[in-house]
């Protein structure tokens, strides 16, 4: 079982097709290849050609339907930049072709004095928020952007946090003070101004109501604010406002060792637990060149699927509660508790075990784990059936969710929707099947798909997904490979303790890795996984140090929230609540 290998098929030939097409169109000079460990072609293009290249790739012949990610790197302190174009800042565009299962990453070099790019929001609508984030974090402007304002940081913030010259620690700033005047200023800055967003306050003779839903609202699922322009109860338009849960996880990654960043990943999608560790450690292992053992990979799959179930149970309870059913959440939490009992016995923690390690997992499975896991596997199916019978077959639930906030596959792809929300539209794309990682190719399971892409399908699909996860876990129990739970590799962190007590060499490595952290060779790597809420990916840049030079965390919930206004125009307030419940987002996953 290989974990560190790039996606299936023969990558070289397939990649060449895209690269060659681009070279044919834009000339050898127009696209410059960079060798990385991302598994996909990384191409440098000129700023002037960007819009044209993206348009070309978006086109039917190349079919890159989705802008998967867009962010930037501050290159000014990077020492290993051999063979790369001169750049103070790099903006990268990660495009995905889900229909042909291939990706391409485009990079644009920018000089410090001229930090500006054309906006691509007209080609990929979901570029809107990503460009705002890049402006917020790096101070790079996008010409022609409809509304280039801060998105994650407060509107009053000074500086651009992901720049290398912006301090990382609060202690590097002056002590924080908040005067009454300052508080008024902050509050004033949060006040919603409809004209600012090009909204009208009146229509003919009726006035619109602007309703501020959140950041504290029972159905906002965390600190999320969405301002509604209402005509009666009909939503004319709405503006989601995020950033209240921003903790600067990407910045923290730049001052934590490769190893000590693992607990931070747990808290990205805080309902996903070790599922978040997975893309990170897989990406680090690519950089380190570690092949984990079959046992470690299988343990990882088992725990990841356990967390998929607990996350989906939380979803199901809150989704039904948002529809006004107050009881199901207590039942799903009972089930979730049973799941956590298993997780706790294996990892020692419940929600945030930070249990995966570079090169394996923290420890071996405890004695008697099979019985525990089997108990959970036997418990769940009848409960899932009960939820279907009591709730998903209930007339009111159906009425509240069927054809509510429905979208098509094309629309989903254009907005960067992934995971169950994409599959609810009937599009069968699951990374566990399409680009297996951590040994998913060895498991026998199905990918449930919906048909209408509405709030009902998004709910039902997750119940079906839990059944498949149970199937996967059952196979883990039945066929758990023997062997070591950690890879035999110098960069495995921490190194096996048993040997550390015997070998002076291992002892030294242990000491260095625990005090400084492992040093990874300069390169770039990328790992995407099918997380609980959609595709979660870590794009790591190493500069040959104990810490990451840049860690880009692409989370599924971010584009899911961006899609809300496009769906909700013309809906009613209760539809919005049903939709919010059906997206399955957590704000930590949006704001990072």
């Amino acid at each position: 079982m290989s974990v560190a290998t790039p996606p299936p098929d023969t990558p070289t030939t397939r990649h060449d097709a895209v690269v060659e097409a681009l070279k044919r169109r834009f000339g050898e000079q127009g696209v410059r290849e960079q060798a990385t460990l991302t598994g996909w072609p990384v191409l440098w293009v000129a700023r002037e050609a960007l819009t044209e290249v993206l348009g070309f790739l978006r086109d039917k012949s190349q079919a890159f339907e989705m802008l998967y990610d867009l962010s930037a790197i501050d290159e000014r302190l990077r020492s290993h930049r051999r063979d790369l174009p001169d750049a103070d800042f790099t903006v990268f565009y990660h495009l995905m072709s889900l229909s042909r299962n291939r990706d391409v990453i485009l990079k644009v070099a920018l000089g410090e004095t001229d930090l500006s790019l054309p906006s691509v929001a007209s080609i990929y609508p979901n570029a809107n928020w990503y460009e705002r984030e890049v402006w917020d974090m790096f101070g790079i402007t996008f010409e022609g952007h409809p509304h280039l304002t801060r998105i994650l940081m407060p509107p009053t913030w000074n500086g651009h946090p992901l720049r290398k010259d912006h301090h990382a620690r609060a202690t590097e700033f002056d002590p924080y003070t908040l005067t009454v005047v300052g508080q008024d200023k902050e509050q004033q800055a949060l006040k919603f101004d409809p004209e600012h967003w090009g909204m009208r306050r009146k229509h003919d003779d009726s006035e619109f109501m602007f309703l501020n839903l959140g950041p504290n609202h029972p159905s906002a699922h965390g600190a999320f604010r969405i301002v509604l322009q209402l005509d009666g109860e009909e939503i004319i338009d709405c503006v989601p406002d995020i950033g209240y849960h921003h903790r600067g996880a990407e910045k923290m990654a730049e001052r934590q060792s490769w190893h000590s960043f693992i607990p931070y990943t747990d808290r990205i999608d805080y309902t996903g637990g070790v599922m978040n560790n997975l893309p990170y450690v897989l990406a680090v292992e690519k950089l380190a060149g570690i092949q984990v053992t079959e046992r470690a990979a299988t343990i990882r799959v088992m725990l990841a699927e356990m967390f998929r179930i607990t996350s989906h149970l939380l979803f199901l309870g809150t989704y039904l509660q948002d529809l006004g059913a107050m009881t199901p959440v207590f039942f799903t939490f009972t089930d979730r508790q049973k799941g956590y009992e298993v997780i706790e016995a294996i990892t020692g923690f419940r929600m945030h075990p930070a249990w995966y390690r570079i090169g394996g997992v923290a420890h071996d499975l405890p004695r008697g784990w099979e019985k525990l896991v089997q108990g959970f596997l036997d418990w769940m199916p009848k409960r899932l059936r009960e939820y279907e019978r009591a709730m998903m077959e209930n007339a009111i639930v159906r009425e509240r969710t069927r054809h509510v906030a429905a979208h098509t596959t094309t629309e989903a792809l254009a907005w960067g929707i992934t995971g169950p929300n994409l599959r609810a539209t009937g599009f069968d794309f699951d990374l566990r099947k399409q680009r297996p990682y951590s040994g998913y190719e060895n498991f026998d399971f199905e990918i449930p798909v919906g048909s209408n892409g509405d709030a009902f399908d998004r709910g039902q699909l997750r119940i079906d997904e839990m059944r498949q996860s149970l199937r996967i876990i059952q196979q883990c129990v039945d066929h758990m490979p023997a062997g070591d739970y950690k890879a035999d590799h110098p960069l495995t962190t921490p190194p096996p303790r048993e040997r550390m007590l015997q070998h002076i060499e291992t002892l030294i490595t242990h000491f260095l890795q625990v005090s400084w952290g492992p040093v990874l060779k300069p390169n770039e790597s990328l790992q995407m996984i099918e997380a609980t809420k959609g595709i979660n990916g870590y794009y790591l840049t190493s500069d040959g140090n104990t810490m990451s030079y840049r860690t880009r965390i692409r989370t599924p919930s971010f584009p899911h929230l961006q899609h809300i206004p496009a769906l909700m125009r013309g809906g009613f307030v209760p539809d919005l609540i049903a939709h919010l419940g059906s997206i399955d987002f957590v704000m930590a996953d949006v704001d990072r």
């Binding site: 309703l211 029972p218 529809l323 006004g324 107050m326 039942f331 509240r400 009613f572 209760p574």
Partner: protein, 326 residues
Amino acid sequence: MSWLTPQVTAIIIAMLQALAVLLGAVLLGAVLTVVERRLLGLWQDRYGPNRVGPFGSLQLIADMLKIFFKEDWIPPFADRTLFVLAPAIAMASLLLSFIVIPITPNLYVADLHIGLLFFLAMAGINVYAVLFGGWSSGNKYALIGAMRASAQTLSYEVFMGLALMGVVAITGSFNMRDIVNAQEGFWFVIPQFFGFCTFLIAGIAVTHRHPFDQPEAEQELADGYHIEYSSMKFGMFFIGEYVGMVLISALIVTLFFGGWHGPWLPPIVWFALKTGFFLMLFILLRASLPRPRYDRVMSFGWKVCLPLTLINLLITGAVILLVAPE
């Protein structure tokens, strides 16, 4: 004791009875807040409040102490007069309705000829509580809640009255005691089944109980019309809702389930048992159903319930004319 004439005694007894009914209703409403939480706990696979006193029996006292000592805050942007008036209306209109309900042959407050109409009038006044509360709070959520409540109450009151006309037609009286007496051995729920169904639905809607709690829908409006209320003003809305539940249950019993009638047991026990049953039904509904969308509730009222009550009334009229064509 020359002043203690039979007339005076009668007045004193009547006053005591009125006081007993009043206190009983308020107390029952208050106790129900705890009973509901315990029952919900039972149905939801958890305990509910069980810490204060044996089996949580003193929870009510703890809650009341807490709510009495909360800061009674009136938002500076609120319309003070209406803001204060609203919870008083909420409580008073429902409590006043109790006077027309005969609990036993001897225990009642007022034997009004227009008993049923009096209740409908009070239910009509009750909507002002929500309307005033929502409007005067100066809060958009409260306003939307009040808007929903007014529209919903108005539409559901239309057929609530009509649903009862079948009963009135059979009895030939608006007097509640006459209605109960007419049901000796033959409950009106049988001939007036559709009337019962629609009245039950309308009753839930008028008291804003789940699944017709759109005016305060927590997930949507974060408590709707009483979002700005605190302390005892909130308490009055809160207890008012439970008093409303008791009232509707008592009315259903009186109008469709023979009131105090029943074998073996004393009348008051029968009345209490029947009312208790419907109170449980209210709570069970809340535990088991999701909330339909507000516009569907409205169209359900106008398109299903209203025609149903009209058909019911027509058929009842036709049958009465056939059976007793005098």
